[in-house]
């Protein structure tokens, strides 16, 4: 009868002979060096069986003996690092090889393991540095040459990605600035969330609301400056009576509201149960949220004209307007208790 695996836990009742053997192996009377060495061999056996967890326990026991043979300790640390490595514990593995290298600076296996850990941890410059340290000891160590080549390649690819991201960020920033000065030139005011001091809004323009533009709105569209230097806005139309909306992704600042309304309501929308949303029947409003007042908009006006209104504040990068039907009971209810500035 042969044992295929080394027994982990031995019950002296069941297996007195084995327990006896084990006590010989780990006899406390032997020197710490001998005991540590026995644990190392035990760990290596587990390692060969790919039982890394047990191997770690054995190497740890070996290290606990605190023997004076630093080369042996370096091997214990390096081997435990290898077992940790195969379990995916790259940080723990790295800590072990760092100690191993301190104990024995020329221990190539520790250096190789360290380089592999850094590679896994995606710290490519360190991986290259460790390989080069190792190549100083053996300039032709195959593993080090290979790992260095791989880490160097990845390092350079990473640097390229960083450069690309930086350039992209820079471009976006300058686009934002151009957009921002276009808005400022037109005297269009942006609504500043979380600020109650509305008078300061236009002063804070620079700070603020670049963010409102950088983040795309819910529809995934953004304001943009076309090749002729005109702004195109995403615009939201709200129909409170039916809880419906229309979204125009690029409303040219010089087009008039009526132009869009004529197209949008060329046919009656399916939700218009009473067939009353004819272009000529519609009234446009915007809301001054800070003062909770409503302003009627002349549909003959262009978007730019309306946005330049002294009480218009663009919110979240998307101007929005209310559309209601003239003389309709819903409208009367809707405006109840609100101040409405009607067209003269």
């Amino acid at each position: 009868m042969f044992m295929k695996k080394s027994p982990a836990e031995i019950d002296p009742e069941q297996n007195p002979a084995l327990a006896c053997l084990q006590s010989i192996i780990f006899d406390e009377d032997r020197s710490p060096e001998e005991q540590a060495n026995t644990y190392k061999n035990e760990g290596n056996d587990y390692f060969k069986e790919t039982n890394y967890k047990k191997a770690i326990i054995s190497y740890t026991e070996g290290l606990k003996k605190k023997c004076s043979d630093q080369d042996l300790n370096a091997v214990l640390y390096t081997n435990r690092a290898a077992a940790q490595f195969y379990l995916g514990n790259y940080r723990s593995a790295l800590n072990d090889v760092i100690i191993a290298r301190k104990l024995k600076p020329t221990h190539l296996k520790a250096i190789i393991r360290g380089a592999l850990c850094y590679l896994e941890l995606k710290n490519f410059p360190e991986a290259v540095a460790w390989c080069e340290e190792g190549l100083r000891i053996d300039s032709k160590e195959k593993k080090l040459v290979d790992v260095r080549a791989k880490a160097d390649r990845l390092k350079r690819a990473e640097q390229r990605d960083i450069r690309k991201a930086k350039l992209k960020e820079k471009k976006e920033q300058s686009q934002k600035e151009v957009l921002h000065s276009a808005i400022k030139e037109r005297n269009i005011k942006l609504f500043l969330e979380a600020s109650e001091k509305e008078d300061e809004i236009s002063d804070d323009l620079a700070e603020m609301s670049l963010n409102g533009f950088s983040s795309e709105n819910a529809m995934g569209t953004k304001i943009y400056l076309d090749e002729n230097g005109n702004l195109n806005w995403p615009v939201l139309f709200l129909y409170p009576e039916y809880g419906q909306t229309d979204f125009i992704s690029a409303f040219h600042e010089d087009s008039r509201f009526i132009d869009h309304i004529l197209v949008m309501f060329a046919e009656l929308p399916p939700w218009d149960l009473e067939s009353k949303y004819h272009p000529s029947n519609l009234e446009l409003y915007f809301e001054d949220e800070a003062r909770e007042e409503m302003y009627q908009v002349n549909p003959e006006n262009t978007l730019l004209q309306v946005l330049q209104h002294q009480r218009y504040f663009v919110k979240a990068g998307t101007p929005s307007f209310l559309v209601l039907v003239k003389h309709c009971p819903f409208s009367k209810n809707y405006f109840l208790g609100k101040k409405v500035h009607r067209l003269k």
Binding site: E132, S139, K140, L144, V145, R148, A149, R156, R163, K166
Partner: protein, 368 residues
């Protein structure tokens, strides 16, 4: 004439171990001054006794005296007449260079750079390296080591490596595929701190590119030489995305303050190295694939030095021209007609002459 002889003999006495240390020190400083002029070098370079006395002084415990002796030797080594007497000292100089705590490694290095310019002395240096049993690895290590206060970075190892790799045997050592020597030197084509170091490494790489049997390996992912030769030639120009993605990763999305190699001679060496890489069919293919043309197109717009422009145009010709006819694919093995060969030799000579001048200027700079 006799008067001169007398002066030299007297000076030699002051340099020798018989003289008082302060006298030796003064004499060394005086000799260093003499070697700053062409006449002084002509007078002293051919006197073995003098050179040996200086060599002895480099072992002086007083660092200032030893340094003055080294610098005088650096200047004298620009004269081939001095090499006969200095050759036997090469193993000693090499040991000092590589000794970790040695404080005067820098002048030793400069001296070796000047000595290795002559082919015979260069061979002796390689021989000495071999006898140490380690080949070129220690030199590469020393070259890659960062400078510290006690031991400055050894930039002149660049020219030493460039000179050594004029010898095919040294190239074979450096290009050993089982090692990792040439790979570690590549980043220094972008070393901003010293044109001597950059020029040395790039000259060395150009020398290595004469070995067409290594071209495929040099261009493979294992070494990836090409981006390191192209990067110093690339500027900050923004390319369309589609072109950008065709470049090697190292050349993509370079910052707007990216600068090209400042030294026109180094730019020319880079172009020559790439041209050599296009000598074989496989090499040509690889160089073409990596978007080399795009980098050269932008360089050509920017370049003003006629010599560099000519090298650039020559390379562009190869990149956009038709493939040579069958049997002529390896440009380094093509049989060259006698008259063309002669012309090429003349061109090579001119080039060597101009390089020689350059190195000498370097050594004079030190004697000041």
């Amino acid at each position: 004439m006799e008067q001169e002889e007398e002066r030299v003999r007297e000076l030699l006495g002051f340099l020798g171990p018989g003289a008082r240390p302060d006298v030796r020190s003064q004499a060394a400083a005086h000799v260093l001054g003499l070697t700053g002029s062409a006449e002084g070098r002509a007078l002293l370079a051919a006197r073995p006794a003098f050179l040996e006395a200086l060599l002895l002084l480099t072992g002086e415990s007083c660092a200032a005296t030893a340094r003055a002796a080294y610098l005088a030797l650096v200047n004298l080594a620009a004269e081939p007449a001095s090499h006969g007497a200095l050759g036997p000292a090469l193993p000693l100089l090499l040991r000092r260079l590589l000794e970790p705590g040695y404080g005067l490694a820098e002048p030793v290095c400069t001296l070796l750079a000047n000595l290795s310019r002559a082919e015979g002395t260069c061979r002796r240096l390689l021989q000495a390296l071999r006898e140490e049993g380690t080949g070129l690895a220690p030199l590469v290590e020393a070259f890659c080591a960062d400078g510290s206060k006690e031991r400055p970075a050894l930039h002149y190892l660049g020219p030493v490596l460039a000179n050594l790799t004029q010898l095919p045997e040294a190239r074979a050592l450096l290009l050993d595929r089982s090692g990792c020597l040439v790979q570690r030197l590549l980043p220094y084509t972008q070393y901003e701190g010293s044109a001597i170091r950059r020029g040395g490494v790039i000259g060395m790489l150009r020398n290595c590119c004469f070995e067409h049997k290594y071209h495929e390996w040099l261009l493979s992912a294992e070494v990836d030489l090409l981006p390191f030769l192209l990067l110093p030639l690339a500027g900050p120009e923004e390319l369309p995305e589609e072109e950008m993605e065709r470049l090697p990763l190292d050349l993509q999305y370079l910052p707007q303050d990216k600068q090209r190699e400042m030294d026109p001679d180094i730019r020319k060496m880079l172009l020559e190295a790439i041209l050599l890489l296009t000598a074989t069919k496989a090499g040509r293919q690889l160089v073409k694939e990596k978007g080399t043309y795009l980098v050269l197109r932008e360089l050509h717009q920017w370049e003003t030095e006629p010599g560099v422009l000519a090298a650039c145009e020559k390379l562009i010709q190869v990149l956009i021209g038709d493939e040579p006819e069958a049997g002529m694919e390896n440009l380094l093995e093509v049989k060259i007609p006698e008259d063309v060969e002669k012309q090429l030799q003349r061109l090579d000579l001119e080039e060597e002459w101009s390089q020689g001048r350059e190195a000498q200027l370097g050594s004079q700079g030190l004697s000041r």
